[in-house]
């Protein structure tokens, strides 16, 4: 998600030419008309190696994708800077991105199409997989106290600051008086501890690390945005969606199955996480798992779009009907 804006600018300029070339090449990769006839289509998905994508790893292991005729390759990438151009150029067929980034991309006319749900907030105040944290002895008690304070988010002008502002507003504070600074999630525990920032919006496993140091969650910003907020989704390029609707359909079905399975098998989720991350056992035990509903929550996405509009994230209002499945 970092540097998404730069990426989009480059992507937007190059898209026309590149999709034109890759269209003719990629037809050799595999016939999408596999249906259920035992033929598999090779599909590459760009994911971020974090807790959120556990269902797709689990679904691959369980053979859900194979069953739908998809030979799945998961490629860990470091965020939207690599995933979005990868999907647009056809190197990846699908990618994982947070909803706000997808909205920003859509408003900039990057040809993307969300196809399946990714991850959702638990909807429980104080027990979500992300939250606004402060260090042990901090005088801050609620989101309203963030006025005039320095708050770390992983990317500015994205889902972090818009949702934190929603929390501040809900608690009766003035969101325009919060000072946001950009910091990678993994550096937040140290920055918080050293007092470089007053509060940090962090997700797992950073959240578990901060809690283990005695830090407190003062607000659950995802919960404050909307009940059962859809945080991230899997997406493809509009070109691929048009060219291979059968593969997209098969991916959607398999992902739905994987999400439902993951949601009801937390122990297997914790195990599969150790196969693609290095989260220490002691931390993993205390990680709050997100929810993985099979379908995105449209009204929560409407709310995110509205928050993004208020914060001036979009030059043009994104077309949700076109973006969402």
């Amino acid at each position: 998600m970092r540097r998404l804006l730069t990426v989009i600018a480059v992507a937007a300029l190059t898209v026309g030419g590149l999709t034109a070339c890759s269209d003719s090449e990629s037809t050799g990769g595999g016939d999408p008309a596999a249906g259920g006839s035992g033929k598999t289509t090779a599909v590459k998905v760009g994911v971020i190696p974090i807790v959120d994508v556990a269902p797709i790893y689990l679904g691959k292991e369980k053979g859900f994708y194979e069953k739908h005729g998809i030979g799945l390759t998961l490629t860990p990438a470091q965020g939207g800077a690599a995933i979005v151009p990868g999907v647009v150029s056809g190197d990846f067929q699908f990618g994982f991105s947070n909803v706000t980034s997808l909205l920003v991309a859509q408003s900039k006319k990057v040809p993307l199409k969300a196809v399946a749900n990714g991850v959702a907030s638990t909807g429980e105040e104080g027990a979500d997989f992300g939250g606004i944290t402060v260090k042990k002895d901090s005088p801050l008690r609620s989101a309203a106290d963030l006025e005039g304070k320095k708050v770390a988010v992983n990317t500015l002008k994205n889902i972090g600051d818009t949702s934190v502002k929603a929390s501040v507003e809900k608690a009766g504070g003035d969101p325009s008086r919060v000072e946001f600074v950009e910091l990678p999630f993994d550096q937040m525990p140290a920055a918080l501890d050293a007092g470089q920032v007053d509060a940090a919006w962090v997700v797992e496993p950073g959240l578990a690390t901060i809690k283990a140091q005695g830090g407190r969650v003062i607000a659950s910003n995802y919960v404050d945005v909307a009940p059962d907020l859809t945080v991230a989704m899997y997406f493809t390029s509009t070109a691929y969606a048009k060219q291979s609707p059968e593969v997209v359909k098969a991916f959607q079905d398999a992902t739905r199955e994987s999400l439902a399975y993951a949601d009801s098998h937390p122990d297997e989720v914790r195990r599969v996480i150790t196969t693609y991350t290095k989260i220490p056992e002691a931390t993993l035990k205390n990680v709050t798992l997100p929810k993985w509903p099979a379908e995105p929550n449209r009204s929560s996405i409407d709310t995110l779009a509205e928050l993004g509009r208020q914060d001036g994230l979009f030059t043009e209002v994104p077309d949700l009907d076109e973006l969402l499945p």
Binding site: P49, A77, Q78, A82, P85, G86, F92, A208, K278, P280
Partner: protein, 264 residues
């Protein structure tokens, strides 16, 4: 430009080793004495334990192989391209004048800024890594070759001309011996830069290799593992620099900058 004469003496090697040990000792002591939190900078002993686990992991060796492949291929391409382009541009005054400002414009562009373009063109695999590595290493070689060619003694050049040496003979007997020490410096610099960029590309893009392993350890809050991998990256850099210096000395055994060492 050339290795300091003392580098070959056994006393200097011992000193270098002592410096390294001192660093490891400092990292052991700092977190233990509470100056920094052991959560964020684990003591050396803890890092070494994580390192031992890494060394037993087959995936680690595959990642190391991936990184070295990207480094070696990228460096080879950059050196060949840099030398060929350098000799061509350097020996044709018109080309030199026409490209000077373009080179100075392109050279300072950080490779990292090309990441979105690289991903768009080559996806997240080896191709992207190569683009970044070649871009960064190429200029190191090119600029050194250009300096080298500029350094040709005018008397030698005129002598070659009056003896009616052909183009190839001039390149072989006049240009190349003068430029070689510069080329070697360029290669040595490029070798280090190529490693940095290979690991950076993996770190940022996520193409397979040591860098992406560091990134996974980072996002997983696995701090000792992260430092263990960083230590490997550092050792790799040290080895590459040593190897480059050795190659430089062998290739320039006749040159006064290297011959001088033996006399001392």
């Amino acid at each position: 430009m050339t290795p300091p004469p003392s580098a070959t003496r056994p006393g200097a090697a011992a000193l270098g080793l002592a410096g390294l040990l001192g660093l490891l000792l400092t990292v052991e002591v700092l977190p233990r004495s509470g100056v920094v939190s052991a959560d964020y900078l684990p003591p050396t002993s803890r890092i070494v334990r994580a390192l031992a686990v890494e060394l037993n992991d087959r995936a680690f060796w595959r990642a190391l192989g991936d990184t070295l492949t990207g480094w070696a291929l990228g460096l080879a391409i950059a050196v060949v391209a840099g030398v060929v382009a350098g000799v061509l541009i350097g020996s044709v005054p018109f080309l030199r004048a026409a490209t000077a400002s373009t080179i100075e414009f392109l050279r300072p562009i950080p490779s990292v800024a090309l990441i979105p373009l690289a991903v768009l063109l080559f996806g997240t695999g080896l191709g992207s890594t190569l683009l970044l590595v070649v871009y960064a290493a190429f200029w190191q070689v090119l600029v050194q070759v250009l300096y080298g060619i500029q350094d040709v003694d005018p008397v030698t050049r005129d002598t070659a001309r009056s003896y009616n040496l052909g183009t190839w003979a001039r390149v072989r007997h006049v240009l190349w011996p003068t430029a070689l020490p510069y080329v070697m410096t360029g290669v040595r610099l490029a070798a280090s830069v190529a490693l940095i960029l290979a690991i950076t590309a993996e770190l940022v893009i996520g193409s397979p290799g040591l860098g992406s392993r560091i990134a996974v350890a980072q996002t997983s809050q696995a701090v000792p593992e992260m430092y263990a991998l960083i230590m490997i990256a550092g050792l790799l850099g040290l080895l590459i620099n040593l190897a480059a210096r050795t190659v430089e000395r062998r290739a320039l055994f006749w040159h006064q900058s290297v011959r001088g060492e033996a006399v001392l």
